[in-house]
């Protein structure tokens, strides 16, 4: 039997909203659990802001054909560029449905920090 822990609050997602919720809750003394589906960001290896355009195969134009295949929804976000694309989910691996006539662009960024990272 796995060890059972009890929490006063469980926050799902560590993005801007979840992060702030966890801050407020813990500051008020609640025992808080934050759940995050994504990985942790390693600044040394993951940061891209010092990558120059010429170091990217498409010089910042993005790999258009691959993006249309793998990230047809995420690519609508301005930040899903040739630098930061890796911080967005692959739509082909993360499908979702909406009601008819009610399209919704679900921009999803899966790591500790969520979309605040991009």
């Amino acid at each position: 039997m796995p060890k059972q822990e009890r929490y006063d609050a469980i926050v799902v997602g560590s993005g801007i909203t979840g992060g702030w919720a966890a801050k407020e809750l813990t500051e008020r003394g609640l025992r808080t659990l934050v759940l995050e589906a994504g990985r942790s960001i390693d600044p040394e290896n993951d940061y891209v802001m010092t990558t120059q355009a010429w170091e990217l195969p498409f010089r910042g134009r993005r790999d258009r054909i691959r993006q249309e295949r793998e990230r047809p929804i995420q690519r609508e976000c301005y930040a899903c560029d040739e630098w930061s694309e890796k911080f967005f989910v692959r739509d082909n691996e993360n499908p979702y449905t909406t009601e008819d006539e009610k399209p919704f662009l679900w921009i999803r960024s899966r790591q500790v920090g969520g979309r605040s990272i991009v």
Partner: protein
Amino acid sequence: MFFTSQQRETIEALSELIIPTTDTPGAITAGVPEFIELIVVEWYDTDDRERFMRGLTEVDERTQALAGVVFAQSGVETQAEIVSALEVESRTTIASEEEAPSSFFQQFRGLVLSGYYSSEIGLREELLYQPIPGRFDGCVDVSEVTRSVSDGN
């Protein structure tokens, strides 16, 4: 391989004519032909790719008609004549800002410029690359050694 060696030579010669080697490196040294090949093969949609390939073939056909050899084998004067004609013709079919370039020449020149000025050589050796410009000089004396500044965008 997508391009034949003749097509590749035409791309090289045409690129180098648009941005030649002077006191700064030209298009070939900056890797422009490889960039063009990548965009045409792996980025363009079918329409853009067909227009590019048609235009490229036409360059060699026109040079053949004029000088009896393909573009890359022809002399500087012939090449200049061909490119001047292409440039003049492209102006009569200029596209609106919203539309894609309407002629092969506009398309090709756009590729050369974006390939060159996104290369390390174009940004660091031809332009003065300052990704984080620290100051703004509103009024500077321009001399022959003044270089244009770019933040890479």
